[in-house]
């Protein structure tokens, strides 16, 4: 398991930061907006300080959060890294367990940094970061437990830099992509390609990459909207163009795979045999803590279970993973999906899929019908070193968890 532990990094705030925060807040017209602008400004200052320490230049005044009119109407705390992209610095107030992602910050962000505030405003803590999201199906919030350690932000920035450099190179595939997406900022292309690389397995990347390229091609007049997301007339576009875009995406992502060294950055991989030794990552909780049905019953079997809450748009579900050693070398893994956050049934149509990470083959898949209380798949006969991923999907939104035995 190659994940650095999450620690909160404390940043002190100067008088200058407070003076600017006060100045910006004083232009607002409601008490709530005053507080929002004040904390947004301090959050930007704190992240900027961390980037300065990393030796990364920023431009405060280029951000919309420094624009006198935009900050009055939008909830923004952006920080510009010139010629590279924007970070969104999201305040976390005492008692909050997630950062909010208002619609105005869902595009053109390379990452979201969570900045914890306490009652006293002399310091804040950087809790971690979340890499770019899919602007076509953005989450409304991101749980703190899903953040990457702030200490690894530089790894992510370096990764995006190398992608941007590649896209500006004279490699044939880079030239072709840049010609097709001439309208797009290079930072956005690199960021979204990294997202696709990070969130899809290597067999799905071709299709997701093709979709991404198609979505940014000039729209035809007979475009349509589905669920608020812009959909270029894909039904009407001919198959050869679709295949061509998929080929291009595949080639591009293979090149980036070579540059990035083969593994999605900081992708948390749960090593399940360690669960049997009592070693868990903090975002996997005891099942009794999350699922009421288990609160009264004692652990009956030799299996070890942990639960993780998963947010899919407005739905929250709980993924219960139970691992047991069946024989000397063979493990079985039960994967169960339950409703959470006061829901009684699972959302109809939600899917649970296990994929072999080596071959890309779908191992098992199930889907919730109307009024299902839970759904389950069982991976049997796993041996040490096997890697698989579990995808929970509802409509266009999906979350993938990675496991190794």
């Amino acid at each position: 398991m190659k994940n650095i532990d999450k620690c909160e990094l404390t940043i002190l705030l100067s008088k200058q930061a407070h003076q600017d925060a006060h100045k910006f807040a004083s232009q607002q017209s409601t008490p709530e907006k005053v507080k929002q602008v004040y904390t947004n400004t301090l959050a930007v200052y704190a992240v900027r300080h961390f980037l300065q320490w990393l030796g990364i230049e920023t431009d405060l005044s280029a951000g919309d959060s420094w624009h006198p009119v935009i900050r009055c109407f939008n909830d923004m705390a952006d920080l510009v890294i010139p010629d590279f992209g924007k970070l969104e610095c999201r305040p976390v107030l005492p008692g909050q367990t997630a950062i909010s992602i208002p619609p105005e910050v869902t595009e053109e962000r390379i990452a979201y940094i969570a900045v914890q505030f306490q009652e006293q405003l002399n310091e804040v803590q950087l809790l971690g970061f979340y890499p770019a999201i899919d602007p076509q199906s953005p989450p409304k919030t991101i749980e703190i437990s899903r953040l990457q350690p702030i200490e690894t932000l530089i790894d992510y920035i370096d990764r995006l830099e190398s992608a941007q450099l590649f896209l500006q190179s004279d490699e044939e595939v880079a030239i072709q992509v840049m010609e097709r997406l001439a309208d797009q900022p290079i930072s956005e292309i690199a960021t979204q390609l990294e997202r696709i690389y990070r969130t899809y397995n290597k067999y799905e990347r071709r299709y997701a990459g093709g979709e991404f390229l198609a979505s940014y091609m000039p729209a035809k007049p007979d475009f349509a909207f589905r669920g608020g997301a812009p959909i270029v007339d894909r039904e009407g576009s001919d198959d050869s163009q679709k295949t061509e875009l998929q080929d291009l995406a595949e080639e591009l992502l293979e090149k980036l795979d070579e540059i990035w060294g083969g593994e999605p950055i900081n992708q948390p991989v749960e090593v399940l045999r360690q669960w049997l030794e009592g070693i868990f990552r903090e975002d996997w909780q005891p099942k009794e803590a999350v699922l009421t049905a288990y609160r009264k019953s004692a652990e009956q079997s030799q299996e070890v279970s942990r639960v993780k809450l998963i947010e899919l748009g407005s739905h929250v579900v709980a993924l219960l993973v139970s691992v047991s050693l069946d024989s000397e070398n063979e493990f079985s893994i039960h994967l169960r999906l339950y409703p959470a956050a006061r829901a009684i049934h699972l959302p109809e149509g939600i899917q649970l899929t296990a994929v072999d990470d080596e071959s890309g083959e779908v191992l098992l898949q199930t889907q919730a019908d109307e009024k299902n209380d839970w759904i389950q798949i069982i991976v049997e006969g796993g041996t040490q070193g096997d890697r698989f991923s579990v995808k929970v999907a509802f409509g266009d939104i999906s979350i993938t968890e990675y496991f190794a035995i």
Partner: protein, 232 residues
């Protein structure tokens, strides 16, 4: 090195330059440092390590402050305390080492002036250290920074601003629907605000044309009218 020994060495390093040197040289022997450092940094590791060692030696007294640790009261014989100190020390070292590898990779000549993590954010904007310490301010007090009359005044100003926005009718050549007024309506005044991609499709204007018109023209015009309305 076990958790208790590392914790004790860190404590001693806070008061002894010799122990700080021993601690710095021990970084290379901590298995987690290599394990947690991104694989992409490995080609730069050998050049970066001496810089990191120097930094750890010089700045060890800033480590507890960065992670809100009180090492004077930490009991290094307590496994939980010692484990916590180790976890945070490893994070700190890996963060510094990653930064130093990044520096080696891009060549130090491009490195902008840096700050100490322990300095207050915004300190390099001038003034002495004393000048940078803010007056005590609490989160709860933020909502009462402005008096009712001031909020009213700001509301009036925003009303005036909304009226002035109607005159912002400049648009990119060939796209008469894509006016600043239209973009302001969709981005700032509509709830929830629309995404650029959505606006581009609805206004039948290329994405890049919409965003560059916004960034180059509309934001500037908005700033101008905001200045004018506040000067009135």
């Amino acid at each position: 090195m076990d958790d208790a020994s590392l914790c004790q060495l860190i404590r001693e390093a806070l008061h002894s330059p010799q122990k700080a040197e021993t601690l710095a040289l021990a970084i290379d022997q901590l298995p987690e440092v290599n394990r947690y450092l991104g694989q992409g940094w490995m080609p730069y590791y050998d050049k970066a390590l001496p810089v990191t060692e120097r930094d750890v030696k010089r700045n060890i007294n800033k480590f507890p402050q960065n992670y809100r640790l009180n090492l004077e009261t930490t009991d290094c014989k307590n496994p939980s305390d010692a484990g916590n100190v180790r976890k945070k020390f490893i994070s700190w070292v890996v963060m510094i080492l990653s930064r130093d590898c990044y520096d080696v990779k891009r060549g130090q000549k491009n490195r902008p002036k840096t700050v100490s993590l322990s300095d207050p954010a915004g300190i390099n904007q001038g003034g002495t250290i004393e000048d940078t310490i803010p007056d005590p301010q609490s989160l709860n007090s933020l909502e009462i920074i402005l008096a009712e009359e001031e909020l009213q005044e700001n509301q009036e100003q925003q009303k005036e601003l909304k009226r002035l926005i109607e005159s912002l009718l400049c648009h990119p050549n060939g796209y008469p629907h894509c006016t600043c007024y239209e973009l302001i309506q969709r981005r700032l005044l509509k709830t929830p605000s629309q995404q650029w991609m959505e606006i581009a499709i609805e206004l039948e204007t290329p994405y890049g044309t919409v965003t560059s018109h916004w960034n180059r023209k509309c934001k500037k015009r908005l700033e101008e009218i905001s200045k004018n309305s506040s000067n009135k």
